[in-house]
Amino acid sequence: MTLARRFILDRNLVHRFGIVAVLLLISGLLAATTDSFATASNLTNVARQVSINGILAVGVTFVLLTGGVDLSLGSVVALSGVVCALFAHPGEHALLVPIGMGLLTGGLCGLLNGVLVTRGGIAPFIVTLGMMTVARGLALILSGGKPVADMTPALTDLAGDVGPLPIPLLCFALVALVSWVFLGRFRLGRHLYAVGGNEPAARAAGVSVPKVKLFAYGLCGLLTGLAGVVLAARITTGQPNAGQAYELDAIAAVVIGGTSLSGGVGGVLGTILGVLLIGIINNGLDLLSVSSYYQAVIKGVIIVGAVWLDRRQARS
């Protein structure tokens, strides 16, 4: 595929300029108003903090591209984290077991979402809303309502660094890179756009719509499982009440990045920008010691403002 086509698939370059501008503007403001924002150690810090939302956002990009939605991200993060922690007590299993179980848990939840959406014909909003409460309940049942502690250092070390780079960031970067290549270069990736853009047309063109959707939800679930494992490593416990409202930050990042909520338009590059924007806002407001009440307001205004600027520019 030519480079030009790739940009068309990702809507277009211009579309992302708005977000890049907002990102640069806010970064510039923070660099000018604080001594600590534009330092290597703080940028590493931001990178570490955005990784979990980043992995989730890339995952849910696939679902949003098909015109669906996944509201169960936060609860599945908690469930996968709890399952991972349950298998991570020191000296019980090899390191791959807790990681694998966490991924498996997320993947299964995602596949179940996908099956209910495609075979059950239930709206994604409802299916994943159900999964949101079921997964939260399962996390509470499996953990007995208490944080699952006593995790092997081998696993919690995964929240640490390799050289100067945080391992969670490396996970996010790898996930984003593979997803970007996949969406642009692979037939199944292009089918995701086709299904979200015009489902009847995709079907007429011989695309197996259920398979494509099942794939999107399954992959999103798998990545949610990964985010759960990373979170458990980061907070050294499996927390049944972790991940509250994570889906909202993830979906916000995707939408800021230019992916349409009605499907068919967008991509991973935009999502990365959206994730960075949200991460930098969170970090910057703490650095500036902005009161908690104002933080919430400012964050909301910036998110809506960024999308508004972006869409306005895309139209002109």
Binding site: N45, R48, P147, T236, N241, Q244, D286, L287, S292, Q295
Partner: protein, 313 residues
């Protein structure tokens, strides 16, 4: 999905099953047995879950029939639960309130229906008939006094708030600020919320380390979950030895961390004492005996010296 008769029947069947299962609990009462409704703030948070367990255990011990519901941190839900208690004609309602203001209508409705109400653990704007709990202001005072003592009254402090607007957050903050006012050398560098959440406190402390590295000597977290998050951030940055960290609640992990010399201290809140006290007060009220309007269960500071006594509890 089309609504075929089969689907409609299936749905009806499902609803019926759920209803029958739910109603099973409502067996007729034996004479002399009190029916008490308990609405927990949030059974997914460790402290309130422990409190709920303590209430259930005490009710069983004293032969009280308990209707146990979880408001899942939603004040709106808690109000509906109080309304359900009223229509179930319980003898006493025990409320573990979600919020100071928003849970108040639950109290008003119960009082209007002439059913006595006990608040446990947390206050509301509307006055209940009886309050069993601990004075959260005291927790704030104890924690900040411990910090003042450790720093010799000189230094910079950071404070991590619980969910803004909850009684525990408001009063722990007020207590801490009272102590800060007493020590002019003790400065509050910044205070932010991490909503009782470990991951949020971890990120917040990481950001603080960027903004104020080397400039703060103590962190007071309104609960242990957040203290554990702050602790992790400091340990990973290699700064723990320079910063005193104290939380509130004495959850199991925090006690282990105190024992291991990682966390400096926590303030013990007595879930079992509060739960027992609430059920005991409910029985007194139901049987029209005199009761105290306020039962205070004291907080205690837990450090490495006395942690063993609390690990046993």
């Amino acid at each position: 999905m089309r609504l075929t008769p089969r689907i409609a029947l299936g749905t009806l069947g499902l609803v019926a099953t759920v209803l029958v299962t739910a109603c099973k609990k409502a067996e007729p009462r034996k004479p002399g047995e009190w029916l008490v409704g308990y609405s927990s703030r949030d059974q997914s948070a460790e402290y309130t879950a422990r409190l709920g367990d303590a209430v259930q255990a005490r009710a069983k011990e004293r032969g009280v029939k308990l209707v146990f519901v979880d408001a899942q941190a939603d004040a709106q839900k808690q109000i509906s639960q109080a309304e359900n208690f009223i229509s179930q004609k319980v003898d006493v309602i025990i409320l573990n309130p979600c919020e100071v203001e928003a849970s108040s209508p639950a109290i008003d409705r119960a009082r209007a229906a002439k059913i006595p109400v006990i608040n446990v653990n947390s206050l509301t704007k509307a006055a209940p008939d009886c309050y069993v709990g601990s004075d959260d202001e005291q927790a704030g005072i104890l924690a900040m006094e411990a910090i003042a003592k450790k720093l010799g009254g000189q230094g910079n402090v950071l404070m991590i708030h619980g969910i803004m607007g909850q009684s525990a957050q408001i009063h722990r903050d007020a207590g801490a600020r009272k102590v800060l006012a007493k020590y002019p050398g003790l400065k509050l560098l910044d205070a932010q919320t991490a909503s009782w959440d470990r991951a949020k406190a971890l990120a917040l402390t990481e950001n603080w380390i960027q903004a104020h590295k080397g400039k703060f000597q103590a962190i007071f977290a309104h609960n242990d979950e957040m203290a554990m998050g702050a602790l992790l951030a400091l340990e990973r940055a290699g700064l723990k030895k320079d910063v005193y960290v104290i939380g509130v609640d004495a959850i199991a992990q925090a006690l282990d961390a105190v024992k291991a010399g990682r966390l400096d201290a926590t303030v013990f809140q007595d879930a079992v004492g509060q739960g027992r006290g609430a059920v005991d007060a409910a029985i007194l009220m139901a049987s029209k005996q005199p009761f105290e309007k306020e039962v205070m269960i004291p907080f205690q500071v837990v450090t490495r010296e006395n942690v063993d006594a609390f690990l046993k509890k």
